[in-house]
């Protein structure tokens, strides 16, 4: 389903305009400057009106669900959801990633490449209709390390904690990022034999189509802790092939409020010029001499090839969280509750790839009144490459108390 791609003949021309001479360079000074922020609590300064506008509505929940291809009626059907333990529509659990206050793509060492290494998410309460979410983020770690793919690199980590509008914690998200100079990454990439873009035959697509049909959603039929066997496999969920059209929606969650902050892609016209005047090192100069924010490089295969020396446009990883949550919640059913996901991204997911989200029960235990299932999770692409790995914990009701609401804090 794929070809190999010799990157030695790729175009060059990644350039920046003016500004800080250390822009895009990994220096001791830039690392120290970033590290000085460790432990500082940061919040996104939403005004009260913005918070009100951020309340979960049936429409925003629906858009998020459809953008990931998850048709769970807990997200789409108010009557169905009202009969569940939640009592109303709920936001898909993956939306907890909205609590991320900042990340390495926009925090410190401007111009360096940022790769999402992985995350640990803990859920303690569902996000319900009408809730809005605030959060606090803290940079917890900045450390240098050598990397096979990018030479000298920096690992940068955060913990974010989210709250609903009643001040109740909804969960937390630990994130780990890899930073490296783009030119270093590209130079190394040029000397490697890298995979090419996915290529599908008609038979490949038919197989994917058949796998779509195999999706199983447990729904309102409870899965009890006692009925789960260690070693059993969860029904997989297949996603993709991704495309520009799909990512345009899937990576924005079906449309979000645009604030026009640095790092967002919404800078156009005069706003772009104002931004670049404030941050003259920020833009790259595109193929037609126009300064653009570096984020847009990742919108097309051609630009990732040209500017980064990569086979194509890779995803940030967030969608793989969403899809893995889809797989886990399909299996756990409405009465189950995903309480923890520890996920790492050992390989890129390139635009055009197909992703199979899989899981296997590795253990079960009862602890502090919770009936916990331990699950190994992984995502494989069409080449059989493991692009995601990790583990999860799901809380299930017990036959001894079948109507119990299982999320940790009610």
């Amino acid at each position: 389903m794929s070809t190999e791609n010799d990157t030695s003949n790729l175009n060059t021309g990644f350039g920046f305009k003016g500004g800080n001479p250390n822009y895009g360079r990994l220096t001791d000074e830039s690392v120290e400057k970033l590290a000085s922020r460790i432990g500082v609590e940061r919040r996104r300064d939403f005004a009260d009106w913005e918070l009100e506008d951020m309340r979960c509505t049936a429409g925003s929940i629906r858009r998020s669900a459809l953008s990931q291809g998850d048709y769970n009626p807990l997200y789409l059907d108010p009557e169905y959801a009202a009969r569940s333990n939640y009592g109303s529509l709920i936001s898909p659990p993956w939306n907890i990633i909205g609590i991320e206050v900042t990340n390495a793509a926009r925090d410190g060492m401007p111009g360096l490449h940022a790769w999402f290494r992985g995350t640990t998410i803990k859920w303690v309460r569902p996000i319900k209709l009408e809730d809005y979410i605030t959060s606090v983020g803290v940079l917890t770690e900045v450390r240098k390390q050598k990397s096979k793919t990018s030479g000298e690199a920096v690992v940068q980590e955060y913990i974010n904690t989210g709250y609903n509008d009643r001040g109740e914690e909804i969960g937390s998200m630990f994130t780990s990022w890899h930073r490296a100079e783009r030119k270093t990454s590209k130079s190394i990439a040029k000397n490697q034999k890298m995979r090419g873009l996915a290529e599908y035959s008609a038979e490949d697509l038919e197989k994917i189509e058949e796998d779509f049909k195999k999706e199983v959603r447990r729904g309102d039929k409870p899965l009890f802790w006692e009925d789960v066997t260690v070693g059993e496999e969860l029904p997989f969920v297949v996603k993709g092939p991704t495309s520009q059209a799909q990512r345009g929606v899937g990576e924005t969650g079906g449309g979000r409020m645009i604030r026009g902050e640095p790092g967002e892609w919404s800078h156009t016209h005069g706003n772009a010029f104002k931004l670049f005047e404030r941050h003259p090192g920020l833009p790259f100069v595109n193929e037609w001499g126009i300064p653009e924010i570096p984020l847009v490089i990742h919108n097309s295969n051609e630009r990732c090839q040209r500017y980064l020396g990569l086979p194509g446009a890779y995803d940030a990883g967030y969608q793989r969280i969403n899809w893995t949550v889809h797989m886990l919640t399909n299996w756990a059913g409405d009465a189950g509750y995903l309480s923890r996901l520890d996920i790492r991204f050992p390989s890129f997911n390139i635009m055009g790839d197909t992703t199979w989200c899989c899981g296997r029960v590795t253990g079960k235990r009862q602890e502090e009144g919770n009936n916990i299932i331990e699950i190994e999770i992984w995502n494989d692409n069409q080449l059989g490459t493991r692009v995601t790995e990790g583990n999860a914990e799901v809380l299930l009701p017990s036959k001894s108390n079948p109507d119990e609401i299982v999320w940790p804090v009610q």
Binding site: S67, G69, A245, F276
Partner: protein, 373 residues
């Protein structure tokens, strides 16, 4: 893998579309969904940010509260986004769509908090026969009526979409002599940066009808260079087309898809968003802008000139030239007349837009209402 995609528009498709003239399409909201049709401040802000027209009338509730409108209002041209028929999916799926002309009639602004509903109707389907080159072009006129949920009219939008057979000479004619997207020098970019700083907004300083004279010129408003086809999410997206949904859709409507670089099927309009793809699958010089942004820019020039107390009444635009992504648009206007109808004091203007090549990309007229002293 395919390249140089060609599509056709058949007599049968045109005949079938003509049978839909007069058919009304609307989004019906259940009560529990109605809040999603409400104009939240964030929606207004998003529109303002994306068009880079962030005047306080759209952004600042305290400022807007003291304006003649009493609250934040939405940028007037936002009503264009309420069209309920998507030419790319609902008219001739697979064809290339280009907005050729538009007429906007405004009755009142949309205020923050309004619940806005809309209905659209195909009003005309006419084949364009004077292109002089091969390739079918069909003009489809769609009228959209926008109102509050209490049936107060906000305005009407008539969009004339030209639907092209992909890969035809008619589609290639849209580029004229251009062989590539415009290359900007660093000097060009720096000059644009300086030009942006010249923009002036009258704001709360009221322009009275009596002070306007025929021949008065509006300050030029510059926009661009554009960097990608803008994609503003609709309040209720009409398609997502990823994963299983894309697979299902491609089975039901294969004409809406093309075989992309992966050999997978993708919505065909994704060819039109970036130069690389337009070149590879369209055999074209690059990707075009959609023209849908242009009334926003014209209204920005009008609003800068007339201040907060003025409001557009009618805008009629034609788009003889389509910009490529990467182009610059400058919007101009000149007063051509003024009149009073009852209590309404109206100023008539000629409006136009040019790109960085000085091509007249938009021609048209506008009427605005101004207060009297």
């Amino acid at each position: 893998m395919t390249s140089g995609i060609k599509t056709t528009i058949t007599d049968q498709q045109i005949a079938e579309l003509k049978t839909r003239i007069g058919e009304v399409v609307r989004t019906d909201y259940e009560d529990w969904q109605l809040d999603d049709a409400r104009y939240k401040r964030a929606i207004i802000r998003t529109w303002a940010v994306l068009n880079a027209d962030m005047r306080p009338l759209y952004m600042d509730p305290e400022y807007a509260g003291q304006s003649p409108w009493g609250s934040i209002i939405a940028p007037p041209a936002i009503i264009v986004s309420h069209e309920q028929i998507d030419p790319e999916t609902d008219i001739f799926p697979g064809a290339f769509s280009r907005l050729n002309a538009m007429q906007l009639d405004f009755d009142q602004p949309i205020h923050m908090g309004d619940i806005i509903l809309a209905e659209s109707e195909i009003t005309a389907v006419e084949e364009v026969t004077n292109t002089g080159v091969n390739g079918r072009v069909v003009c489809v006129s769609i009228t959209t009526r926008v109102s509050t949920n209490e049936n107060q009219s906000i305005g009407r939008v008539q969009l004339d979409w030209h639907m092209y057979e992909r890969g035809s000479d008619a589609q290639r004619e849209l580029y004229g002599d251009r062989q590539d997207a415009h290359m900007h020098s660093q000097g060009d970019i720096e000059a644009l940066g300086e030009e942006y700083k010249l923009e002036q907004q009258r704001g709360a300083d009221t322009l009275f009808w009596g002070d306007v004279q025929e021949g008065n010129e509006l300050q030029c408003v510059v926009k661009g260079p554009t960097t990608r086809a803008r994609h503003i999410p609709r309040s209720e997206s009409t398609w997502y087309w990823g994963h299983k949904q894309a697979n299902d859709e491609s089975k039901q409507h294969p004409e809406r898809f093309f075989e992309n670089e992966n050999g997978a099927l993708e919505p065909i309009m994704a060819i039109d968003w970036v130069h690389h793809r337009a070149q590879r699958w369209g055999d074209l010089p690059g990707a075009l802008e959609s023209n849908v942004d242009r009334p926003n820019f014209i209204i920005q020039a009008l609003a800068n000139w007339m201040g907060d107390a003025g409001y557009p009444l009618h805008i009629k635009l034609e788009f003889p030239v389509t910009n490529m992504i990467g182009d610059v648009t400058r919007s101009y206007g000149r007063v051509t007349g003024k009149r009073q109808e009852g209590d309404t004091s109206i100023v008539q203007l000629e409006v136009w837009q040019e790109n960085q090549l000085q091509q007249p990309i938009t021609t048209g007229t506008a009427e605005v209402i101004l207060p009297t002293a």
